[in-house]
Amino acid sequence: MRNFVVKITVLAMLIVLCLWQIITLWFGDMSSHNFLVKRDSTHGRVLAAPKAIWVNIGKLAYKIDGSRNEYSTLINEQKHVIEGAVKNGKIKTDETLTYESLLGMPGILYEYDLEIGIQELVGTGIDKLAEDIGVRQVFIDMSSYNDAKVNLYLVGNEISSIYKTTLYKKIDAHQKILEKFNNPEITGGLMGYQPSITSDKKQYIRDNSFLPLNTKERPLEYEILTIHNPIEEKEGEDKLELLESYVNSFFANPLLKQVDMREDGSIIFSENMRAIVKYEPAGTLEFNITSANRETKLNAVQRLNKVMEFIESCSGIPDFLKEGIYLTQIMQQGEEYTYKFSYKYKGFGVHLTKKVKEELGIDQILEITIKNNQVVSGKWSVLDIEPAEEPGLLKGKLLKEYGAVIDQVFERYVQDKNEIDQLDIVQCRYIIDMTKGKSHLNWIVLYKNNWYYP
């Protein structure tokens, strides 16, 4: 009798364990076997890519080249750190610290082109945070890493307002990168950058620009890029076939779409007025989709996620563009939100001149508009931007130093230097001033809403 009771008890326990395991597998929480619940679509996706990542070793900084593996490793680790900060909720303003002293610490700085909410940065809700913090720069201070401690600093549009939190986390990739850039044998061949806020030109530049320390003896070497429209290089059926590979994903039934070839060279693809895609021979694709009637409001994270999901899946956007874009502006007009993206090549911004923007009819290289819960329109450049292959045209050299550039701008454009008018941006970017030809790296200055190319 006693044995019988023991057997029944053990059997009952095993049945309960089996049931628990089945429930966990099918309806469970964090299990990866849970295939009934749709996974969070933001998982693993970087919603807002930085325009530049800098390794700060004290007085000098080095740029992380966007094409290297370390770029994505760093971004993932940074996301992990911010998520940790959001979860513990202890992010407070640090009034004792100045931005200038921040750049004197060893660490890694992530620069964004616009101020975005911290939740958009990591793609999660604000959880325990009392307020949504606007972030334009993220600095991970590694000076206390030997104590297994990292300080996370968040800087908004106003560089005087710095938020800080301390986390006890292991971020090995950050540490390895910092060690690497502290090795003179490695940095010997790399271009060092001077943060303008700690430079001799501090009073002439608003906030901060990272200025390359190129000299005549050690110029800034870069790859020369070629710009061309691959669609216009084809004719007849080949051209239409290539274009169809770009636009077919917009239509429910691509075979039934209508094609209207205009005299000016533009081609319009449409499907029962539900979707219209227009190709302009200058080098753009534009689409409009009939908006969803159902009003489903999305929050900022969901909106950005929807836009990024669209970009990832859209076959009409060139792959190189998808890899190099970074968010530069969000514009709201009624219920419509337009997300504008710029493009960078190997860590250097690609700048479209006013002439090229007018020719292409775009403000930024990629623009996507979302209304309610649906991406409703967009326009982008389909121009190929790739390294030049012609012999002798592979590498360019930038000799002009930052001191000469700033002096030149002040001499030519600033009336009274004693007014201490500040230049808004002083940078090196690839400048695209024609839709077919070469693009070189050069200095670019933003002053009183005008771009100058000294």
């Binding site: 070793i57 940095t187 001799d200 030109k201 130093e401 001191g403 700033i406």
Partner: protein, 178 residues
């Protein structure tokens, strides 16, 4: 005659003893500086800068007459009047067994003529050991002709850097050696 010969020899030995270092005249660096450190107020903060004897040139980086660093490069930055022509000579030196500074390498940088912002910079390479920096400035209008500023930047060795790093780790961790 023999006495005279001995006297000459004696004087020659004394001469060598007294002025022996001048034998290496072209290689030796004297560790003297002719600059001053001043405290100035910038952005409501007191900062130190190096100024030339005539206060015509102010160096904002480095800020000490003798600076030590682990970095292999430095952006020398400063301020002076528009139109000043500047050359920077960097003498990398090391001490021999007798404690005499010997020049291992000399690099000369010609800085762009100082412009309207009245600031200048020059990115220089630092070799391990002492780097004597000689900044030569000329401005005809202000009657400055090849005036010199001398200051030093010592780049510490990689071994020392590693030692300090290890030392810090032991300092920070709870070891019985603490």
């Amino acid at each position: 005659m023999k006495r005279l010969k001995n006297l000459m020899l004696f004087l020659a030995f004394i001469g060598i003893g007294l002025f022996g270092s001048t034998v290496y005249a072209t290689d030796v660096i004297t560790t003297t500086s002719n600059v001053k450190v001043e405290t100035v107020t910038k952005d409501d903060k007191k900062v130190e800068i190096i100024v030339s004897e005539d206060k015509y040139v102010r160096i904002t980086q480095p800020t000490k007459v003798n600076t030590s660093t682990f970095e292999s490069k430095m952006n020398v930055m400063g301020e002076t009047s528009q139109g000043t022509e500047i050359t920077i000579e960097v003498y990398n030196t090391s001490l021999d067994k007798k404690g005499i500074s010997l020049v291992k390498n000399v690099t000369v940088y010609t800085v762009k003529t100082v412009g309207i912002t009245e600031t200048f910079n020059q990115f220089i390479e630092l070799l391990e050991g002492e780097n004597k920096i000689v900044l030569i400035y000329t401005n005809e209008k202000d009657k400055k002709n090849k005036e010199k500023m001398i200051f030093y930047v010592t780049r510490e060795s990689e071994e020392k850097k590693e030692f300090i790093k290890t030392y810090n780790v032991f300092q920070d961790s709870k070891t019985p050696f603490k």
